[in-house]
């Protein structure tokens, strides 16, 4: 039986972080940059498409300068709502602006081993194990490739990773680790094998594709080609900017938003020009580089503000958003991780970002921690609860009950209490035990989170892929390997 999926919906909280004037200025500034400075598209196919639509293309530098009107018109073709579909239709995710879904983070290169606690290089079995645990958790709505299957050759690694996820979960998969056209075509072939045909895949795309831009103001050619192939097959595709203040973007937040926005909307417009009406999403994980080292930080007040601002921008373009939240810079599940992941996720959620990426990685999305994955799920659950706000009506005002109990009584034995007590959040990983009980072992939420992950891994049986589909997937990968 497929597990249910928890999402934030019908929010009672809101945050106005940018005025409509602000958004318009960001948009106008972005178009100005795309038209006057241009964005680099080092892909022959992309440049051909741009040229055919009247953009100014420099074949030497690969820089494309696009009239603002062309970008605006193209973006209007993008569908505002669609579903990320799953192998099990009960697990479809509606990207309708009224749901926030959580996925796993990606793509890490090391894993804190679930049994030994030792940090080591990630491999295929890790991808499979993480997918299996994600399959069981209601907070995890969809998968990214959480870690890299480094025990497989680079050429087909992205395909082996997909197989690992599909064999271990029925939930939607979004790959962020396929970077060229050939691999994308094979991934689609694999998705077709599961869907039972090209048309059924187009109707119910159980795979979506996320590509990173190359800030400032650039794209990776292979990524653009892979996205075009995905869009052709009807898969939702998105481009993520990770523009970082100081290094790949101006030090100012507004300037960063312009740089990232130029990258994302130019690539998104390209997809629409090639395949009008193709499902697309906006993806972003802007940050500020560390002032001392220039390194990626994975968190901080700037990230939190970006998290809240970004959905306002993608709402302006009327396309769903995949927002980088979680993904702390902390080295282990600790205070640092708790602060960053709570605040980044709250800020991205309060504005109803459609997808949140993602749970489980430490040290700026490099090191997978099963404990962190479960702790992140708890953070999501807390925010899920907070987003329900405070209901004020006759039932919740509970005047009869208050009168009944009167001064000095207590509410423990009231039927009203029994009826509503389960509305109150029950934490899994917060330590509310008496002090002396804690003192005996001095264990905490991290230990319990890890324990839960181990238990799921040992007991959870995902709905398997049919044997013949599984071997079909292997065959497709093998044929790419032979080339």
């Amino acid at each position: 039986m497929a597990g249910k999926i928890k999402s934030v919906t019908n929010p009672k909280l809101r945050l106005d972080i940018l005025t409509s004037d602000d958004i318009l200025r960001l948009h106008t500034a972005t178009l100005d940059i795309i038209e006057s400075t241009g964005v680099r598209f080092p892909s022959k196919r992309a440049m051909d498409i741009w040229e055919a639509h009247g953009a100014q293309v420099d074949r030497i530098t690969s820089i494309v300068k696009v009239p603002g009107q062309l970008i605006e018109d193209a973006l209007k073709l993008a569908p505002p709502k669609y579903n990320l579909t799953a192998r099990n239709p009960d697990q479809d995710l509606s990207l309708d602006g009224n749901h926030v879904f959580l996925g796993t983070d990606g793509c890490g290169v090391e894993v804190i081993d679930i049994n030994t606690g030792k940090r080591r290089m990630s491999g295929w079995q890790d991808v499979a194990d993480i997918a299996r645990i994600g399959d069981a958790l209601e907070e995890i709505a969809f998968h990214w490739v959480a870690v890299s299957a480094q025990d497989y050759p680079a050429k087909t690694r992205g395909l082996h990773e997909l197989r690992a996820i599909w064999e271990n979960s029925t939930k939607h998969t979004q790959t962020e680790s396929i970077y060229n056209e050939k691999e994308a075509r094979a991934a689609i072939e694999m998705a077709v094998a599961i869907s039972g045909g090209k048309d059924s895949l187009r109707k119910r795309p159980l795979l979506s594709i996320m590509q990173c831009t190359a800030p400032p103001l650039g794209q990776d050619g292979g990524s653009v080609d892979a996205a075009l192939v995905g869009a052709e097959a009807g898969l939702p595709v998105g481009f993520m900017t990770m523009a970082a203040c100081l290094t790949t973007a101006p030090a100012t937040l507004a300037g960063n938003l312009v740089v990232g926005n130029a990258e994302v909307i130019s690539a998104t417009a390209l997809i629409q020009l090639a395949y009008p009406g193709a499902p697309v999403f906006y993806a972003a994980a802007q940050t500020a580089s560390d002032l001392r080292t220039g390194a990626y930080t994975g968190g901080g007040p700037e990230d939190f503000l970006f998290g809240a601002a970004q959905n306002k921008l993608s709402d302006f373009y009327n396309i769903p958003l995949s927002m980088g939240s979680f993904a702390t810079g902390a080295k282990e599940p600790n205070w640092h991780a708790g602060v960053e992941n709570s605040l980044s996720t709250f800020m991205a959620t309060v504005v109803m970002s459609d997808m949140l990426l993602g749970a489980g990685l430490l040290h700026g999305s490099r090191i997978w921690s099963y404990a962190q994955m479960l702790l992140d799920c708890e953070i999501f659950s807390i925010i899920h609860k907070v987003m329900q706000g405070i209901v004020v009506d006759d039932e919740s005002l509970a005047l009869d009950v208050i009168r009944n109990v009167g001064p000095g009584g207590n509410f423990l034995s009231q039927k009203h209490t029994l009826k509503h007590m389960r509305d109150i959040f029950i934490p899994q990983f917060m330590d509310r035990r008496p002090y002396n009980v804690w003192e005996e072992k001095k264990d905490d939420g991290r230990d319990w989170a890890l324990e839960k992950a181990r238990k799921i891994l040992n007991t959870h049986q995902p709905e398997p892929l049919e044997g013949k589909i599984s071997s079909e997937l292997k065959k497709i990968i093998a044929s790419v390997e032979k080339e």
């Binding site: 050429k155 050619g221 560390d290 080292t293």
Partner: protein
């Protein structure tokens, strides 16, 4: 005494990260007949040292370091022909061939490492991004590199760091060069696995590692 004032101005131009002023001061020193080595060591380098010290104690930040590095580069570029004319040369810490590996276009980390290495006193040959394995090896041979430094941002392109090391071995250069690798997915374990000599998570650390590797 007049020279002392000029040297102070030179140091200040570096501290302020003013490349144009630094270049102007370099030209002025040539016209005054000042030994370019003296201009570098008593003038500009003092600014670099000051910025380095201020950075170390947390009063200055990376952008200031980078701008100081660029100002230094501008000054040295002006002084170089004069150095050559006098038949002298600036003593460098070593030669570094730097690139982002084949198939990978991610530039910023690599460039930042280049700036830090130059500012520290290395001669840097930055080959840019998406550089084929053999091109790196040829360049290392051509310039007599002490260090080959490679960046990669993707786990799929990171494998070319290994290819370069193997190619260096094949052509018999490996024993003569130290190999440094970097980029977000690079870990200590990867460094060990491919037999590289050093790595750093950030650019400032990279300059430190380079010095350690050459024992300078």
């Amino acid at each position: 005494m007049q020279n002392e004032d000029l040297f102070k101005e030179m140091a200040q131009s570096i501290t302020d990260g003013e490349a144009e002023i630094a270049a102007d001061l370099a030209r002025k020193s040539i016209s005054l007949g000042i030994d370019p080595l003296e201009a570098i060591n008593n003038g500009f380098v003092m600014g670099v040292n000051y910025v380095g010290d201020q950075f170390s104690c947390g009063n200055m930040f990376l952008p200031e370091l980078v701008m100081a590095g660029e100002a230094m580069k501008a000054a040295v570029a002006v002084l170089e022909p004069e150095l050559a004319r006098r038949g002298t040369e600036r003593k460098m810490l070593g030669k570094v061939v730097l690139c982002t590996v084949e198939g990978d276009i991610h530039e910023i980390g690599k460039t930042l490492v280049g700036t830090m290495l130059s500012a520290t006193g290395f001669q840097v040959f930055d080959m840019g991004v998406d550089v084929p394995v053999m091109k790196v090896v040829e360049k290392a041979r051509e310039v007599g590199a002490d260090i080959v430094a490679m960046s990669a941002l993707l786990t799929t392109t990171m494998v070319h760091q290994k290819d370069v090391i193997e190619a260096l071995e094949d052509v018999g250069l490996r024993a003569n060069v130290k190999v440094m690798v970097g980029g977000a997915p690079v870990t200590q374990e990867w460094v060990k696995q491919i037999g590289a000599d050093g790595y750093s998570e950030d650019a400032i650390g990279a300059a430190r590692v380079a010095k350690q590797l050459l024992g300078v």
